[in-house]
């Protein structure tokens, strides 16, 4: 058990004032090198820690501390790790998932919010935070009448600060773009990295699918939309560098599948791919166990694994080691490398979540689109 909790009980069961004092003097969870201790205060029949970590028992019972309404659980946690969690509180047979009331660090995602456990030494990268010195790019809307989807598609377009029509810019197309803006601070990251000259000023198209479980799973309509509608439309509206190496495509999770699939259908279009925790499910033996949504994904990935080919110049892959997809991503690396593509693979002590993807953006973007920082001093 954590030393600070042991000290609380050093002279027997602490009184309410001592417990209050303990809470006022500590930040929770209690983090120390190699270990973290979760604490919950309240009446309950049971309390469990629910970690959004794959490959481990995600529900761990917390220990009731004698004589007080405190529950605690200590666990190993390597330095620099990060994962998201909730408490599952059981009262009179009713189970409810709650945020950790003692932890103000939370992460948002399309399903709501989670509490965040930051292991010893983890620090949110400064380039993900608003920098008042960084000039701000602009976001605007663009509507595309898609023949592939037989309907209108809304796209957000990021233009860098000091955008000039007389210049030519690289293009990056982002799947789940609005989610990247909302949950991974993509606009702040772009503003900061461009300001620091770590990436060139670029045009970024942010797409969003109304039905990603279908369209991002290897859907030929989606690939056609990207390759034959979106990119030509953008090229007509904005001054873009007309060169494969200056065009990038990226996505996370199923967005990673959509990226790889679109690039496989239009291998001459994108030089740079950024794939984060891609759901690259495949089946070498028998049928996969991931459910019917993954049937088209497995068909596409199996086909590509059987007959791989170069579909970009450079590919940056990242994946959390606390997510099951690490297996699929790791096994993809040599396959891609063997096709002559440059591959940069990064593993993070994190899981399948937007802040993991946010924290890897600098490494990915600066590797794929190196900025002029070595020669330019503004």
């Amino acid at each position: 058990m954590n030393l600070r909790i042991e000290n609380l009980f050093r002279n027997g069961v602490p009184d309410a004032a001592a417990v209050d004092d303990f809470f006022s003097k500590n930040r929770f969870p209690l983090v120390e090198p190699g270990q973290v201790t979760f604490v919950y205060r309240g009446q309950a029949d049971e309390v469990h820690l629910r970690r959004w970590i794959s490959g481990f028992n995600t529900s761990l019972p917390m220990q009731k501390l004698e004589g007080v309404d405190l529950w605690a659980l200590a666990m190993e946690l390597p330095g620099g790790s990060r994962f998201e969690y909730k408490f599952e509180v059981v009262r009179s047979g009713n189970r409810s998932l709650v945020l950790d009331p003692l932890n103000e660090v939370q992460a948002q995602d399309p399903f709501g919010a989670n509490s965040v456990c930051q292991g010893f030494g983890y620090k949110r990268p400064d380039w993900t935070l608003h920098d008042p010195e960084a000039r701000s790019g602009t976001l605007s809307g663009l509507q595309i009448d898609s023949k592939a989807f037989e309907g209108r598609r809304d796209v957000h377009v990021y233009l860098p600060a000091r955008f000039r029509k007389s210049r030519r810019y690289p293009l990056l197309v982002v799947h789940d773009g609005p989610d990247y803006l909302r949950y991974a601070d993509l606009k702040t990251v772009l503003d900061n990295l461009i300001h620091r000259l770590e990436i060139p000023a670029m045009v970024v198209a942010l797409t969003q699918s109304p039905d990603r479980l279908v369209e991002y799973t290897g859907d030929p309509r989606h690939a056609r939309f990207i390759g034959e509608e979106l990119v030509p439309e953008l090229a007509g509206k904005f001054p873009l560098v007309n060169d494969r190496s200056a065009r990038g495509l990226m996505g996370a999770s199923l967005g990673g599948v959509a990226t790889l699939h679109a690039a496989s259908q239009y291998p001459d279009m994108f030089g740079q791919l950024l794939l984060q925790s891609g759901s690259f499910a495949f089946s070498d033996l028998g049928h996969h166990q991931k459910g019917p949504v993954f049937d088209p994904v497995v068909r596409f990935v199996n086909k590509y694994r059987k007959s791989p080919f170069a579909l970009a110049e450079k590919i940056y892959l990242s994946c959390g080691i606390y997510e099951s997809l690490i297996y699929e991503n790791r096994s993809l690396v040599p396959l891609l490398q063997n096709q002559g593509m440059q591959v940069n693979f990064e593993e993070a002590r994190d899981a399948h979540n937007w802040e993991n993807w946010r924290d890897r953006l600098r490494n990915g973007l600066t590797w794929l689109f190196p900025g002029p920082l070595w020669m330019v001093y503004e």
């Binding site: 010195e133 000039r135 600066t366």
Partner: protein, 309 residues
């Protein structure tokens, strides 16, 4: 000898107007924005900032026109640039292990007397390498100048004379930041070094680097690729024995004193001066008359305020 003012980046809070207002000059203001490359000449913000008319010398665009009309000169230039790039690559091959050895010697423990001698020797090796590199660069520049002298290039000469007339008439020359190699190259092509020695000049960021006698590329916190500071070229040499470090707050790792100490000692006796947003150094006859919000790196890896002297 005219006065020079050197500034850091002009974003987010420009101090160019303050610098302009501090100088006593007579005549129009001209600006060199060749470091902005394709964006050269987009100086509306700059004019608004200083509240006076400014004319851009358009060195980048003039050069493009000259190279298009007189391809032999363009070809000579390309050859020189190719050689400079290749030379830089070869220099890096020697620089990396030499720097690495010096760093290890700065970090290791051992007999203090022996260690001191070895550290000094390692730094001397670094300095010798940088000197050798600079000498080799100057040979390439001289070769280019000789070749240029033998060419029939009436447009290049006419453009140079036009630029010289504008500079001679000007009361103040501004040199903006940007791509330092492009900026320096264009100023050298137009042979502005000698002319600018006699003019009041305000230069910022890459412009300040180009004013010095040695240009050092640096970024200790780059996310990818190169991170060993390297000598790029000799600058115009109007300011001597100083290495200017624009945006040092972002580019230097002030927590790593060993690295900063090595940086400072490698370029000594030149003084390594930071130029961040808001910095201002006023010089005359290579003496610092005034300095604000700027520091020099010390041999122990600290920074201290630059004092006038």
């Amino acid at each position: 000898m005219a006065r020079q003012i050197l500034l850091g980046p002009q974003s987010p809070l420009p101090n160019l107007r303050q610098a302009v207002d501090s100088l006593d000059f007579d005549g129009p203001i001209v600006v060199i924005t060749a470091g902005w490359q394709d964006s050269e000449g987009e100086i509306d913000e700059l004019r608004e900032d200083i509240g006076r008319p400014v004319e851009d010398l358009m060195l980048y665009q003039r050069t493009e026109e000259v190279f298009a009309a007189e391809p032999e000169l363009g070809e000579s230039q390309r050859e020189r640039q190719d050689k400079l790039r290749e030379l830089q690559r070869l220099y890096r091959m020697r620089l990396s292990p030499t720097l690495s050895a010096a760093r290890r010697l700065m970090l290791t423990e051992g007999d203090p007397d022996l260690l001191l001698l070895e550290q000094r020797a390692a730094i001397a090796q670094l300095r010798a390498l940088d000197r050798h590199h600079l000498r080799h660069i100057m040979v390439l520049h001289r070769d280019f100048d000789r070749r240029r002298a033998s060419l029939q290039i009436p447009l290049a000469i006419a453009q140079r004379e036009a630029v010289h007339r504008l500079v001679e008439k000007a009361g103040l020359v501004l040199i903006a930041g940007g791509h330092v190699a492009v900026l320096l190259n264009r100023m050298r092509l137009f042979r502005l070094g000698e002319l600018l020695t006699h003019k009041p000049v305000i230069a910022w960021s890459a412009g300040a680097m180009a004013m010095s006698d040695r240009i050092v590329l640096f970024h200790q916190k780059a996310p990818q690729g190169k991170s060993d500071a390297e000598v790029l070229d000799a600058g115009l040499g109007i300011v001597r024995q100083r290495v200017f470090l624009p945006n040092a707050r972002t580019r230097l790792d002030f927590h790593n004193r060993t690295r900063l100490a090595l940086f400072s000692r490698r370029f000594a006796p030149a003084r390594c001066c930071t130029l961040d947003n808001g910095s201002m150094i006023t010089l005359e006859d290579n003496q610092v008359l005034q300095a604000s919000r700027t520091s020099v790196l010390t041999g122990t890896g600290r920074k201290k305020a630059l004092e006038p002297r």
